[in-house]
């Protein structure tokens, strides 16, 4: 029997009993009762919490700058605000009770603060590689904001996991986009490394296994150190000022070490992962990462993850952003309107053929069976 989202827990228990599946009814019932006492936050509340933290940190920083207490540039202000937000999140996660329900207020503030921190750090990283081009800056930040939204809604309160994945993805996108212009990043030979690390990051995103212990905190600090390293030794915000080979080696070493630790922890619980979907997602992602525009890729990841996580909010976010980025991609393509028209028509017909196959052929097959 296929049911709608409005099925009751009793119906579900009956279905599981009928299928002779083992489960602990009392534990599940207790958790469900708690969930009803703390209903999961609406998408709107979560977004508003994030905007609230963002406004607050930005306005406090502006006050300090106008008062002459602080004198920093745009990139550094992103870094300070992001650091403050993440600091708040880490402080709260250390002081809050472990038994707190994921929907409790403290847990939601942690989520909001980490989301804001991640967005700001991504902006900061974007400013590092965009000192020559505004377009790159916006392309990167658009992607990063989407990815941050994705991380925010997918995982239940795990600061380290997404922080690490996201910052890595930022680095990878940044390096890919900026590689031709930036001798420092091209020196790292990110090209082939990109696909492999992106796959690993996605693997982490898809897993449900990483728990909040001291290890993730250390891991977060390690990745954070990796981001801070480009500032050393000249304390300059621009990567173009860096020539030291030592810095390059340290960055490689830290990134490598941090991923090894995470990979080990994920590998311990491999059984929980769904291999077929992960393989499909990774294949699609890598193909698109290498040949497609990054914004569309980010939207597609959200769409696939929304499907995987059975999360309607993610699905809506994925569809809307996919359509938006697809339109803006075609709009910005440097070809004539006639060529654009042809390209759109081909894509439209291709999708229509897939739809017709699913609708007519598959329905007939189902009926004949």
């Amino acid at each position: 029997m296929t049911n709608t989202a409005q099925s009751t827990s009793q119906e579900l228990f009956d279905h599981l009993d009928q299928k002779q599946i083992n489960y602990n009814k009392t534990e599940i019932q207790t958790y469900l009762d708690q969930s009803r006492a703390h209903p999961a936050p609406s998408l709107l509340i979560a977004i508003l919490s994030a905007i609230g933290v963002l406004f607050a940190t930005a306005m406090i920083l502006s006050t300090l700058m106008v008062a002459g207490i602080l004198n920093v540039n745009e990139g550094m202000s992103f870094l300070i605000c992001g650091g403050l937000s993440l600091g708040l999140a880490i402080f709260l996660s250390m002081t809050s009770k472990k038994s707190d329900h994921p929907s409790s207020l403290s847990q939601q503030i942690i989520l909001a603060a980490t989301a804001v921190g991640k967005i700001l750090l991504c902006y900061w990283v974007a400013t590092l590689v965009s000192f020559k081009s505004d377009q790159i800056f916006w392309a990167l930040t658009g992607t990063m904001v989407l990815l941050t939204a994705l991380t925010y809604f997918t995982i239940n309160n795990s600061i380290d996991k997404f922080f690490s994945c996201l910052t890595t993805l930022v680095f990878l996108f940044a390096s890919l986009v900026y590689k031709p212009q930036n001798p420092y990043l091209s020196e790292l030979a990110y090209g082939p490394l990109y696909g492999a690390l992106l796959a690993l990051a996605l693997w982490l995103l898809l897993s449900n296994t990483i728990k909040a212990t001291w290890q993730p905190l250390a891991f977060s600090l390690l990745v954070f150190t990796c981001i801070l390293l480009p500032l050393w030794p000249e304390m300059s915000i621009g990567l173009h000022n860096l020539t030291s080979k030592l810095t390059s080696y340290i960055v490689k070493l830290c990134l490598g070490a941090s991923f090894l630790i995470t990979a080990y922890r994920v590998a311990k619980d491999q059984a929980k992962l769904s291999p077929d979907l992960i393989i499909l997602t990774l294949a699609l992602t890598i193909i698109l990462a290498l040949y497609g525009p990054q914004n569309i890729l980010a939207a597609l990841i959200i769409l696939i993850l929304g499907y995987y996580k059975y999360n309607r909010s993610l699905l809506v976010l994925g569809i809307l952003s996919f359509i938006y980025f697809l339109i803006s991609y075609y709009f910005q393509l440097n070809i004539t309107l006639l060529e654009k028209s042809g390209l759109l028509l081909i894509n439209g017909i291709a999708l229509l053929v897939v739809w017709a196959y699913l609708h007519f052929f598959k329905t007939q097959q189902g009926e004949s069976q």
Partner: protein, 329 residues
């Protein structure tokens, strides 16, 4: 309602799995029970149909925007008209899924706009943009009534809003002090549409989806918010009929508050209204602050405190309301 018979969602199953209260087998069995393959197939089909229609219509629009002279004006007209006819005739075919007929009618309505633009482009009629939208809205109205498709009505309302906007902008030649008239007209149009929808929902089942109400409410709330902000920034407009507009805005928002919170019990609509009210409050307070401030630092400092307080109050109110609405359902 007993605890065990309360609704359960796929997201709750994911949470149970995350907290290791169920294993992979139970998770899969539960998810397939709650959202089986048939639901997903339906969803993917709808997504593909929608995307492919949008891409093909966009390609037709780009094709005529290119204004390919070699094609000749008769062939251009013949192509668009043929496309409209094909869509209309095909929409009469008894497909199993009604959505196909409705999508074809929607495509035909969109193509009418392309045809009108083509007429304007070919004959250089000198007509204003509002005339195109007005004719478009009138011509497609009969199909829209027949299609029984909420998305089709959304297209019509967008065209009507655009027509109204361009008409006021291009023909009325409003002075700076009369600009309040444009958001007022939009608020009136969308408010009337909302009232019609509320009445029609009782009769037509195809209008009962929550998103139809939410989209219209969003349009209405945005117009009311713009009106309020204009009133805050231009207090000198508070004479005669603008005063009436300001008072009506407050009354409309109060009515929406009552309906969304108590009558419809729709959290999304209620949250949108509350966000709009918070924006209006923040604007009013910041306007007051800049009028009486002693320096930039003090303004920013007090502004940050006001922002934090408003956002905290907003989130805390929404959380409480969400909780209460969840309990009530």
């Amino acid at each position: 309602m007993s605890q065990a018979s309360k609704p359960i969602t796929p997201n709750l199953i994911e949470q149970l799995y995350h907290h290791e209260l169920i294993n992979e087998e139970t998770r899969r069995a539960s998810q397939s029970f709650l959202q089986g393959p048939r639901q997903w197939k339906l969803w993917i089909e709808r997504l593909f149909l929608g995307l492919s229609t949008a891409l093909i219509l966009a390609s037709i629009m780009f094709f005529f925007a290119y204004n390919w002279e070699d094609l000749g004006k008769w062939l251009q007209f013949a192509l668009v008209e043929a496309a409209i006819l094909i869509c209309l005739i095909a929409s009469l075919f008894p497909f199993k899924a009604k959505l196909i007929n409705q999508t074809l009618m929607l495509a035909a309505s969109f193509l009418v706009g392309v045809l009108l633009a083509l007429i304007g482009q070919t004959y250089q009629t000198g007509a204003n943009a509002w005339q195109l939208f007005a004719v478009w809205a009138v011509v497609i109205l009969p199909w829209i009534c027949l299609s029984k498709f909420a998305a089709h009505w959304a297209l019509w309302l967008t065209v009507a809003n655009l027509g109204l906007h361009f008409w006021m902008e291009q023909t009325l030649q409003l002075t700076r002090h009369e600009t309040l008239a444009i958001p007022t007209a939009h608020a009136l149009l969308n408010g009337t549409a909302l009232a019609c929808l509320l009445y029609a929902r009782k009769i037509f089942s195809w209008l009962q989806g929550p998103w139809t109400l939410r989209i219209l409410c969003l349009a209405f709330i945005i117009n009311l918010c713009i009106l309020s902000i204009q009133c805050i920034f231009h207090p000198h407009l508070f004479t005669s009929w603008p005063l009436l507009v300001a008072l009506s805005t407050i009354a409309a928002q109060a009515l929406l508050f009552y309906l969304s919170r108590l009558k419809w019990q729709d959290f999304i609509t209620h949250a949108l209204l509350i966000i709009s009210l918070a924006i209006q409050l923040e604007t009013a307070l910041l306007k007051l602050l800049t009028s009486y401030s002693q320096g930039e630092t003090a303004t920013l400092f007090i502004g940050s405190i006001i922002t934090i307080v408003i956002f905290t109050a907003l989130i805390s109110y929404l959380k409480t309301t969400h909780h209460k609405m969840g309990e009530g359902q």
